[in-house]
């Protein structure tokens, strides 16, 4: 009996280690060249949105952003301008708030509606309800931009541009450059960039 118990515990431990290992690798998110998955999330217009709603596009843009992060706020006007440019260039663009409203009440669905109206967002602003989308993509901060080509292959991950604090001081418009490259069937350069941002608010595991 004792021996049996020991074997059982070894088996359980192995299973636990294996499951936690797979969990970690899933948690890393997408890298360039991987195929991204679609999602269906509710927008501030009270409608459900999926990337596949958009037909015949050159690519898809998902911007993880929120109401509360000062860096997200700094980029609001630039995202509105970029949404117009994206439309002209044939890209579908949505913004997703990945924060848990229980932790950050100012990022609640109702507050998102208020913000979207105040700023006149010209792109769907969706709530990652249940926080299932941002871990899949591997978003770690707001704002965090993911751009896919028409086949949903991830081509760009990173920042909007190279100067968060001052739009007039921007030297490289990463997001715009990436759209231009993808539209031409080329690989964006750079394909990944980094910027300071706010951590995504989630309950502790």
């Amino acid at each position: 009996m004792k021996k049996y118990l020991f074997q059982m515990s070894v088996l359980l431990l192995t299973m636990f280690v294996l499951s936690s290992a797979t969990y970690t690798s899933n948690n890393d998110g997408y890298t360039i060249g991987e195929k991204a998955s679609d999602f269906t999330l509710k927008g501030t217009d009270d409608k459900m949105h999926s990337l596949s709603d958009y037909k015949d596009v050159n690519g898809y843009i998902v911007v993880f952003t929120c109401n509360t992060c000062p860096y997200s706020v700094l980029y609001e006007d630039r995202l509105i301008e970029l949404a117009d440019q994206a439309r002209e260039m044939g890209f579908a663009m949505v913004a997703v708030n990945p924060n848990d409203p229980d932790i950050q009440p100012e990022d609640s669905f109702e507050k998102m509606k208020v913000r979207a109206k105040e700023k006149g967002f010209n792109f769907p602003y969706l709530l990652d309800e249940g926080q299932t989308v941002y871990p899949k993509y591997g978003a770690t901060r707001t704002p965090h931009v993911f751009i896919m080509d028409k086949d949903m292959i991830v081509q760009y991950i990173g920042a909007v541009d190279d100067n968060s604090k001052d739009a007039s001081e921007v030297k490289e418009k990463y997001m715009y450059k990436a759209m231009k490259a993808i539209k031409k069937g080329k690989t964006p350069d750079p394909a990944t960039t980094k910027a300071i941002g706010c951590t995504i608010k989630a309950k502790k595991a």
């Binding site: 000062p70 990173g158 190279d162 604090k165 960039t193 980094k194 300071i196 706010c198």
Partner: protein
């Protein structure tokens, strides 16, 4: 020729005026406009002490929550551990946010401000595994380095990362 020599320093001194006056007010902390200057002054020092460098900002709620735990290291292990709190506050918010915060909290650790816009370059120099989310903390000692892109929830957790580098 003589005139040129005379005029040049004059021009240079005029050029430097706007730079100086921008931060003319005296602060208790250093402001680094270049990451490399911060790196030279605070990173990779091999002096048998544990160095803890934390990136934070007054607008970052999880940063503010963990700050007392990190600051307690200075209080408890002042001579063995050097804690540097690198604020990423916006320069225009120094007077309205950072200074009042520091006055109110009277931190024991050294606070500096980093105002280098080339985040895409310097984030990787801090650690290639850092995505740029804050809080983020670097711990190093005599050439060994650990990096944490996470929030610490207790003083015990912070003591643990120090013990880990010391092993």
């Amino acid at each position: 020729m003589n005139l040129k020599i005379l005029v040049l320093p004059l021009i240079l001194s005029f050029m430097s005026i706007p730079l100086v006056s921008l931060y003319s007010q005296d602060y208790d902390f250093k402001i680094y406009k270049n990451f490399s200057d911060l790196e030279n002054a605070h990173f990779d020092i091999r002096d048998d002490r544990v160095h803890v460098i934390n990136f934070w900002a007054t607008w970052c709620a999880p940063c503010i929550k963990e700050l007392p735990y990190l600051d307690a290291l200075t209080e408890k292990y002042g001579d063995k551990i050097k804690v540097t709190l690198v604020s990423l506050d916006f320069p225009r918010r120094i007077d309205s946010a950072l200074v009042p915060f520091l006055t109110k909290n009277q931190l024991k650790s050294e606070v500096v401000l980093l105002d280098d816009g080339r985040a895409n370059v310097w984030i990787d120099l801090v650690d290639s595994g850092w995505s740029g989310a804050i809080p983020a903390t670097v711990v190093f000692m005599n050439g060994k380095k650990h990096f944490y892109e996470k929030e610490f929830h207790s003083f015990e957790e912070v003591e643990e990362i120090v013990l880990k580098i010391n092993q």
